[in-house]
Amino acid sequence: MSKLFVSDDEDEPMTNTGSESPTFIPQDHGEDEDPVVSEIPMIITSKPAQTQLCALQYPGRPSARHYENESHVLSTRLKPSTDLLEADVPIDTSKFFDVNKSDEWGGVNKQTLSGVLIGLEGYYAANVQNGEIVLCQLDKVAQLRPSLNYIDKEIATARDLHRLENNHSGRDTVQVVQMSVKSSNDNAPRLGEALMARKKVEDESFTQLPWVDSSSEASLALKKEIFQADNRNVLRSNTNEEDYIGLLVKDISAN
């Protein structure tokens, strides 16, 4: 077992480089057999107003292939109240690219990914600085997947064409009488939750959100602003373990 931890010694000096010398007082008497050797402070920082920290996941993209520098995300759009995020990303047309298909779909030269931002609780992005872990709470996460809307577009145009042709040939032959009963009550059939959400999304229009690459000044400044631990006061807590379990139970029963 002990062979696994050859690297432990490397960890120890790391904490000493922190500006605030860590306290080495092992206060837990129950853990005497395995004492604490070193402590790494975990510091929470607050975000500037009007900003949200989001994790964007690209399930179809290997982690090593960043959308950065020359292959950065081209642009992003957001539907603010429904939180639908769309991102245009460049595609590599040198490999596995079918020019004929692209022409068929009206010259596809970028990939559109879309996903819905979902609220998070208890997730933090952490940066390690001088042996300190600086945490900042994540607000949202979205999984961006190809939305393939050029295919929808193709189908839609084909359908429109078809409809136009049909209308042209026999206009006055069929007459559809549609009857609908309107009730003033609220118990009229409504759209289901999923359809309702879909409708809401479709009714809303996008607002453009420019994409700022990681190398830009603005991004670097923001990074510094968020992950710089200005306040490193040790927060005091009176909650002991028993109280904490009480809190957990309260939380579970509240939900």
Partner: protein, 360 residues
């Protein structure tokens, strides 16, 4: 009353029956119902009349499974599939890899992508052939020769740079069933007591089973410990590696409910003028926890006064960006304000660390 009903108003069947009654009774074919008694044929006769069935090849496993799909259900003659005729099956999402009903040859051809650049692919292979040492690829598969298409269902062992455009696939672990072989071997080596009575045999078997079970539990516990120790080692390594790397971030998952902290006055509950936005929980700011390294190499986290367990989240093979979103309010921008709206890429999320309350 009833006999006054005129015959015309009676049911058709009834009114027709009345005249037919006497006619049929006078006819020559009147009589009882005689069921035809069909004699059962002998087996030889049946065999002779049976339609000749082709001998089924049993050496192609995928073909067999395909036929099974066709014959699924109680139709026995591909009835299920016929029901799907004229139906357009749309497949999307995690279950799109096929189900029993639609797992036909059509599906197979769908999952292979015909690349417009076969030349590129064949050059891929050549390179692969050259640097092949130790790689156990799908070379033995049917599609080996035909590289104008790529079967997305299987993993290709091309060099890493070549496959970066290939889809991200979850790492597949080939579980070498050591446990099984161990169990098997122990079972086979158990000497059979020839001279014992049944009771004796059962007792020894039972005893052996208990020993095995205990051993299995001990093994599992040890395995868990080793895994956790490996997790802790990995976390420590990741923290060391990412120290002062501004572009890489760790993802921490803390319990949703944290111990209560004395909120210092510095965090002002900025209930400003008239904009009555939802009362934002005062953001914590400052050192809330310490990650503690024990002498054994184990890690633990102390949040406030509560000690918690640390473990590693599952690794993700896909890209995760950390983005700061400034979506801006609905209000119009002032004269001097610069439109700062946008998505600012800060870096990439790497490992995930999960902190869970210790409930012991």
């Amino acid at each position: 009353m009833s006999d006054k009903i005129p015959t015309s108003s009676r049911l058709d069947s009834l009114s027709r029956r009345a005249p037919a009654g006497p006619a049929s009774s006078s006819g020559p074919k009147a009589g009882k119902f005689k069921p035809k008694n069909i004699a059962r044929r002998t087996k030889e006769e049946r065999d002779a009349n049976a339609p000749a069935t082709a001998a089924e090849p049993t050496d192609k496993p995928h073909q067999r499974s395909m036929r099974g799909g066709l014959r699924g259900g109680r139709g026995g003659r591909g009835g299920a599939n016929r029901a799907l005729q004229g139906t357009h099956l749309v497949q999307a999402g995690p279950l799109a890899s096929g189900n029993v009903l639609s797992d036909t040859k059509q599906n197979f051809s769908r999952s292979t992508t015909r690349s417009p650049t076969p030349g590129f692919l064949s050059s891929l292979v050549k390179r692969e052939e050259g640097s092949r040492e130790g790689s156990v690829g799908p070379q033995d598969s049917d599609d080996e020769g035909d590289l104008s298409k790529i079967n997305m269902n299987q993993e290709y062992r091309f060099s890493k740079e070549e496959t970066e455009l290939f889809p991200v696939r979850a790492p597949r672990e080939h579980v070498t069933s050591e446990q099984d072989t161990l169990m098997n071997s122990s079972r086979s080596t158990t000497p059979e007591p020839d001279d014992g009575t049944l009771k004796n045999v059962l007792a020894t078997k039972d005893h052996q089973l208990h020993i095995n079970l205990d051993q299995l539990q001990v093994d599992e516990a040890a395995e868990d410990d080793a895994r956790l120790a490996q997790d802790h080692k990995d976390i420590a390594e990741a923290i060391t590696k990412l120290n002062n790397d501004p572009a890489s971030y760790l993802m921490f998952q803390l319990p949703r409910v944290l111990p209560e902290f004395e909120t210092t006055n510095e965090v002002k509950p900025e209930i400003s003028e008239e904009d009555n936005v939802e009362p934002v929980k005062p953001q914590l700011e400052g050192q809330i926890a310490t990650l503690r390294v024990h002498r054994s190499g184990k890690l633990s986290v102390k949040i406030g006064n509560v000690i918690m367990d640390v473990s590693k989240g599952s690794n993700t093979a896909f890209l995760q960006q950390l983005v700061c979103m400034k979506r801006g309010g609905d209000s119009q921008l002032g004269e001097n304000e610069i439109d700062e709206r946008g998505n600012y890429l800060l870096g990439h999320l790497q490992d995930k660390i999960v902190i869970t309350p210790k409930l012991a």
